[in-house]
Symmetry: C2
Subunit: 215 residues, 2 copies
């Protein structure tokens, strides 16, 4: 059985939880409080020298990097697939996923927002503007593609959820914490809502994790 070393609120962790759920793979949940720097502990660093969550413990060893983990799970457990079978479709889905996972998320990570506060005296307003700026740039083009390309279905690519949906939903959940307006992205919103009706996505939600605060 897989062991997922992660944190409820981390959106890269959310991505992996969704994928494990979609593929019906049971896993043990272990949590690391980022605000208390538990992912910088010697124990965590011995599994993953990057010092970033998540880490997936597998028969092939400890794997870091959420996109690496998603590709690994896809190779090991191809059904149900997170990527289409044709190269053009795979490239389309990866490019949508990467537009979110490379052009938005790395800029809006906790460690980056902390650096902006520490080194540039960025206040709450400035951090919100930063966060919203990078979401806006990529969400505008992702929305345009999803709204205009014929491959879009109930989900980003056809009528089954996959890699792009996973990255999109994890980012969307993150956006709500910074009050990013979503009215400009009706197709993204429609797809996120369709995803959130599925058990695998609901199970992976930050607030449904054992280390989430009791509301």
């Amino acid at each position: 059985m897989y062991v997922l070393h992660n944190y409820f609120r981390s959106s890269t962790s959310t991505r992996v939880r969704i994928a494990l759920g979609l593929k019906s793979l049971p896993y043990e949940y272990r949590s690391y409080a980022l605000l208390e720097k538990e992912h910088q502990s010697e124990a965590y660093l011995s599994m993953n020298p990057d010092g970033l969550v998540p880490t997936l413990e597998t028969p092939d060893g400890y794997l870091g990097q959420s996109l690496t983990i998603l590709e690994y799970l896809e190779e090991k457990h191809p059904t149900p697939p997170l990527l289409p079978l044709d190269s053009a479709g795979r490239a389309r889905v990866r490019s949508l996923a990467h537009a979110v996972a490379l052009d938005i998320h790395p800029l809006n990570n906790l460690r980056v927002l902390q650096y902006l506060g520490d080194q540039f005296d960025a206040d709450k307003q400035a951090i919100k503007a930063w966060f919203t700026h990078w979401v806006g740039h990529s969400f505008a083009s992702v929305e345009k593609r999803l709204a205009s390309e014929p491959q879009t279905g109930l989900f980003c690519h056809g009528d089954t959820p996959g890699l792009a949906d996973i990255c999109l939903v994890a980012q969307y959940l993150n956006n709500t914490r910074f009050d990013v307006p979503s009215a400009a992205y009706p197709t993204i919103q429609r797809i996120v809502e369709a995803c959130l009706e599925l058990q695998a996505f609901d199970d992976a939600l930050p607030l449904n994790q054992p280390d989430a605060p009791v509301s």
Copy 2:
């Protein structure tokens, strides 16, 4: 024949040029001057609504996102491979590539450095510190892994260059523009030097492109 829409100095463009070279795929080179915002022109955006370089023109349409393009080329032209054939090896190579491509490069992009200057009055010194900070975090763990893991060979994984080497070299070239010290990363440096002896890497160097300034 492929057409690569790119910019000599862009390190995501360099990644794709190296991959095309390693796979001996001929391509037509088209350049877009980022400083003159040619990648924001209507013509460019109609190919790639992200407004980011590179874009690869393929029989399957226009592809954006360099990591998507690398995975596409690997699927279409599997020989010579950029990824090992076993899942554990593929995960190792992808995780090294992603540590650079997701945790360093998105933070040190031209558009991000411009935002820091415009919105936070970051001067040259502050931008250098920002750049060096993110390189240092990930390079320290990549160095540790490459120096200690038995799979490391002449290159990141065994004795043939692949996805991780491509991302590492493109980042390393970028570092030299910001005087990032490299003495702390002897294994990375050794691997980069081995790569740069290969024709495919040399051909892909920014200064060997048609749009590079004549020195």
